[in-house]
Amino acid sequence: MAATTLVFGVLPQADALRLADTCLLWAHRLSEWCGHGPAIEEDIALTNTALDAIGQARALYQAVALARGDGSSEDTLAYFRDPDEFCNLSIAAVANGDYAQTVLRSLYLSAWFISVWEGFAHTNAIELHRFAAESAKAARMCFRHASDWAVRFGDGTGESRARMERALLLLEPFVLELLDAELTGSPAQSRSGSFRQRIDACFAQATLSPLSVGSSRGSSAAERRALLTEMQSLARLHPTARW
């Protein structure tokens, strides 16, 4: 394998694609709230998070395409791979559900991304270092927003707490993957420590039970297929269109 197949000079393609696919599918789920948010201000906040995640996905896809040097582009990677070629974390493709479930997914994924991006703080690869530092800022903003809502729901009314507890149950099968996902150059152990610390602090403030990690692993493959069918349909119908 030639050295140029590494993304940013250090990341194996599989790792870069896992990060990019996770960003893209999560961003698409967030974008589904556009025009449907509980208030226009929240709508804008979710859309901003989605745009940040799409920006990260684009940077990673571009870097992967460059490393491949085979005519791939960010668009071929996003729109012309089949669903089973995507290697996102499963939680990213799960359908939105209600606002508590959307908030909890954002809480988990932003905490995970903080641990990932901050894990690259000491890399010697300059491009990756710059990209990770920028992305960590966006992840911390998203975590603050999601954490604020998790506390309001958990420590709010009977209804809001019940919804948060339901969201916790629904997403529990996807937590294990957040704790043990392998990424080269970023040990799972230190990432899961950082992840748990953030989540535990938030749940304590929200008066929720500590993070419960099931042994089962949920699948969101069917939801991903439906999402990609919709997301990719326009590009596949008009492959030469420009906009």
């Binding site: 208030a39 201000e41 929240e42 804008i44 604020d148």
Partner: protein, 102 residues
């Protein structure tokens, strides 16, 4: 005097007025308003709604209900320029050249 009231009665969240300081050393300027559950939430939303394009270095939010405004019907009594009352305008002083434009 009159209180500034939230016109949007269908929304349970109170209205906040948002002020952004664009650069160190300048003053905070009113940029708009938003609905939020409380002051912390208002700051968080203000950042998303009003400062995504490097508009600012600092944000203030103020509950709109805390603002007391002059009554619109007193506008002319309060603010008409009274141009005929020349003694209200300091036009009889010569400004030394060194002072420049005031």
């Amino acid at each position: 005097m009159s209180q500034v009231h939230d016109q949007n009665s269908g929304n349970d969240w109170p209205l906040f007025e948002v002020f952004v300081r664009s650069k160190q050393g300048l003053d905070h300027k009113h940029v708009g308003s938003l609905h939020a559950a409380d002051d912390t939430h208002a700051i968080s939303l203000a950042r998303d709604v009003y400062t995504r394009r490097q508009e600012g270095v600092s944000i203030w939010v103020v509950p709109a209900a805390s603002i007391t405004a002059s009554a619109p019907e007193q506008k002319s009594d309060n603010f008409d320029p009274m141009a005929n009352k020349i003694y209200r305008h300091p036009t009889f002083y010569d400004i030394p050249d060194e002072i420049g434009h005031m």
